[in-house]
């Protein structure tokens, strides 16, 4: 569903992403983890087509992003780290905007289902400026799903959500993956994402440290228990890289 090859992105002299390669298959939820400045957001932005890679190739559902950017963007939904909404559009109007942007017909039924699923039904006519951060996050998620993207990417989606909101979000993501979509999600909340992600990609300073299921990564790390938590694996992996 997503193929990234030798992705490199520099900002002047600093290498933000360094020859990164990985794949995400249909039905998979990939957890993108790494310390601050590891290149997670830059990677997601390159895949979303809003940053131009200096090198490498990105394919989304078989469409090359560099040569067919508009076609590739149609297959993609992005939920950014800070959910910026149009302050004076209502919740429903945001979904309508997303449907129009991605040229989706008959979107109303799916919109109603998404609002109900994300517990926003009672807020459908509320202006965005009156929403809490968690609610804005949910609107961004619902809008990213309105065109049933092949690949859904979420940058730090758990920030600002209450426990119930987190549970609801993961149910939505599992449903999306279960229906044949792929999900890439970056987060620092390792304990929260651990049970829901099928594989993990650990980055450090723009480079890939480990990629695989929890057990696969644990097996690659010396002296790591096979049933270690994601947090233990994360610290093991990043400290191993420091040595």
């Amino acid at each position: 569903m997503l193929v990234v090859k030798e992705l490199t992105k520099r900002f002047e002299d600093r290498v933000a992403v360094d020859a990164l390669g990985f794949e995400v298959r249909a039905g998979e939820i990939l957890g993108l983890v790494g310390p601050n400045g590891a290149g997670k957001t830059t990677t997601l932005r390159c895949i979303a087509g809003i940053l131009t890679p200096d090198d490498g190739a990105i394919g989304i559902d078989g469409v090359d992003l560099a040569s067919q950017p508009l076609a590739a963007k149609r297959k993609l939904g992005l939920v950014p780290d800070e959910p910026h909404l149009f302050a004076r559009l209502s919740v429903w109007e945001h979904l309508e905007l997303a449907a129009r942007l991605y040229d989706v017909s008959g979107w109303e039924q799916l919109a109603r289902e998404l609002l109900d699923e994300l517990e926003l039904g009672a807020r459908r006519d509320t202006l965005a400026e009156a929403l809490s951060r968690g609610m804005r996050q949910k609107v961004a998620v619902a809008s990213a799903l309105i065109h049933a993207p092949s690949l859904l990417m979420l940058d730090e989606p758990l920030v600002g959500l209450d426990p119930r909101g987190i549970r609801t979000l993961f149910a939505t993501l599992r449903r999306h993956a279960g229906s044949g979509g792929a999900v890439v999600m970056s987060s620092h909340m390792l304990g929260q994402i651990e049970p829901h992600c099928t594989r993990f990609l650990i980055l450090r300073e723009g480079a890939k440290l480990f990629h695989g299921s929890k057990a696969e990564i644990a097996a690659e790390l010396p002296a790591m228990r096979h049933d270690a938590s994601l947090e233990e694996i994360f610290f093991g992996a990043t400290e191993e890289a420091l040595r």
Partner: protein
């Protein structure tokens, strides 16, 4: 433009309008509109006999607009999109042309409102309201679009021209026009300034691209208006087409610029400076005496301003430019004694008023602390001491800038007598204090963000115009009253000391009452109800 963007622009505009109408229907909004209408009527009435708006526009308009366009070259590299636009539109399957046209349409909305505000004033004396409205709107749009165009051109130059070449282009861009005007000013010293503006070849060349725009505002006939407005629109279309065609990674530049700007706005809203983040923790000033708590409050404001002095430096640069023009123009024209004095007095008037009217640059008072009002209220300090501590630093900095400007101009031009200079210098701190009381009172009565949400933030444009106009009229009224009191005191007593002491006493009283009013407004400020979104 594709359908979703037309829809977005329409819905956004409709909802913004509804929100504005809702606000205007509230007592405070209605009061603001009434004040604005009264002010416009007063300006219209007092200037009803002023000659030729159209003539002034023809003489000064085009070079002035091009001066502003050239200042746009210093804008950052990249198109500016609102944070929501970045998240929603830049990731969507939209073409570059669609995004650029949408961005321009958003700016046109702001330009329309700005044009509407300005067109109200000269209606009474211009060629006609419609011409003034369309002309001002097109000029504002030119400033917005040319700024975007220059940003994209600079980004293209950064990719294709080495650094030395870029410096050469920048120097040529800034120095050649200035040198041409200076040389012509010297060569044609027989012409009065207004005639020079009208007949100068250098200014005609520099102002040529803006001429159709200002001609729209002063068009005497329908045909002339059609020609001027049509040419202006064609120029704007050419700018937009070139922005769409230039081969630069516009999305990346737009995102970086938009994020930097959004961060700056966020910093300003939460109390940071207008001109970027603080860069130094080295400059430390000693703590002031307590003064019932006013000392530490003032120290905090001054410390932050000293560590991030770009706002003051900008103000000083503007005062420096005005002073240089007031001193330099007579010098270039053979030091005609009358012109030296006239320009000196004009310069002194401007450098006295500029720091008061550009108070946002010195906003180290309640305006800086909009997101910290709760914290201020929790401090164990009386509201009067807090108000004094908040106002004192800005008043001190405004006075310092004024004093530097006035002394420079007075030494260079001897435009005022020694006594009058001393009087002006003596009154400055008091006038500045009163002006800042007005600023803070208006802010606490009708709290507003000192930065726009986005290029299409029409409410911000309205507030900016309304507050600037209100402040100007109140300042003029106070200065007029001061002069009147001085005159009456002089005629009644015949003593110059009394003539100075009486208005000074009145101004000092205004300071005390103004500070008390600010303290009272702060006490009434409810963080739960009054903080703007």
């Amino acid at each position: 433009m594709s359908h979703p963007l037309v829809w977005l622009l329409w819905r956004d505009t409709r909802n913004v309008t509804a929100s504005l109408i809702a606000r205007v229907s509230q007592p405070r909004g209605a009061l603001s509109i009434a004040g604005l209408v009264l002010f416009c009527a007063a300006v219209g009435f007092t200037t009803r006999s002023s000659p030729g708006f159209a003539g002034n526009v023809s003489a000064y308009g085009a070079p002035s607009v091009m001066g502003l366009v050239m200042l746009g070259a210093f804008s950052p590299l990249g198109l500016y999109f609102r944070p929501a636009d970045v998240d929603w539109l830049l990731t969507a399957p939209l073409t570059r042309a669609e995004l650029v046209v949408y961005n321009v349409a958003l700016r046109a909305r702001t330009a329309l409102l700005s044009g509407l505000f300005l067109s109200i004033l000269p209606t009474w004396r211009s060629a006609g309201w419609w011409q003034a409205f369309t002309g001002f709107t097109l000029v504002f749009l030119l400033l917005q679009v040319s700024g975007q165009w220059l940003a994209v051109v600079r980004a293209w130059l950064a990719l294709h021209v080495p650094r030395a070449g870029r410096w050469l282009i920048a120097i040529a861009f800034a120095v050649v026009p200035a040198a041409a005007v200076a040389l012509e000013l010297r060569a044609r010293s027989d012409l009065a300034l207004r005639e020079f503006f009208r007949d100068s070849i250098a200014l005609a060349v520099i102002g040529a691209p803006a001429r159709p725009f200002v001609a729209t505002a002063a068009a005497p006939t329908a045909l002339a208006w059609c020609v001027a407005a049509g040419t202006s629109l064609a120029i704007l279309a050419a700018f937009v087409a070139h922005i769409c065609r230039l081969d630069v990674p516009y999305l990346e530049a737009a995102i970086r610029h938009s994020e930097r700007r959004a961060l700056r706005f966020a910093r300003m809203r939460s109390g940071g400076g207008t001109f970027g983040a603080s860069t130094s923790t080295v400059r430390r000033i000693p703590m002031f005496p307590h003064f019932a708590g006013a000392g530490p409050v003032a120290w905090r404001q001054i410390q932050e301003l000293v560590r991030n002095p770009r706002g003051i430096l900008m103000l000083l640069a503007i005062v420096g430019l005005v002073s240089a023009a007031a001193i330099g123009v007579p010098f270039l024209r053979g030091r005609d004694a009358r012109l030296v004095v006239d320009m000196g007095r004009t310069g002194i008037f401007l450098v006295t008023f500029i720091p008061l009217l550009m108070g946002e640059n010195l906003a180290c008072d309640f305006r800086r602390d909009l997101d910290r009002m709760g914290q201020l209220k929790s401090w164990p300090i009386s509201s009067l001491a807090l108000a004094a501590g908040q106002i004192a630093p800005a008043a001190a900095f405004a006075t310092a800038v004024q004093v530097i400007g006035v002394l420079t101009l007075e030494l260079a031009t001897s435009a005022l007598s020694a006594g009058l200079t001393l009087l002006v210098l003596g009154l400055m701190p008091v006038v500045s204090w009163v002006a800042l009381c007005i600023d803070n009172l208006m802010f606490l009565w009708m709290p507003y963000r000192t930065v726009p949400e986005d290029p299409g933030d029409v409410a911000f444009v309205g507030r900016t115009f309304a507050t600037a106009l209100f402040k100007f009229i109140v300042l003029v009224a106070i200065l007029g009253a001061t002069l009147a009191i001085g005159n009456v005191a002089l005629s009644l007593s015949g003593s110059r000391v009394v003539a100075v002491a009486a208005p000074l006493f009145c101004l000092l009283s205004a300071c005390v009452y103004g500070t008390a009013a600010v303290a009272s407004a702060f006490r009434r400020y409810d963080v739960a109800r009054h903080a703007p979104v």
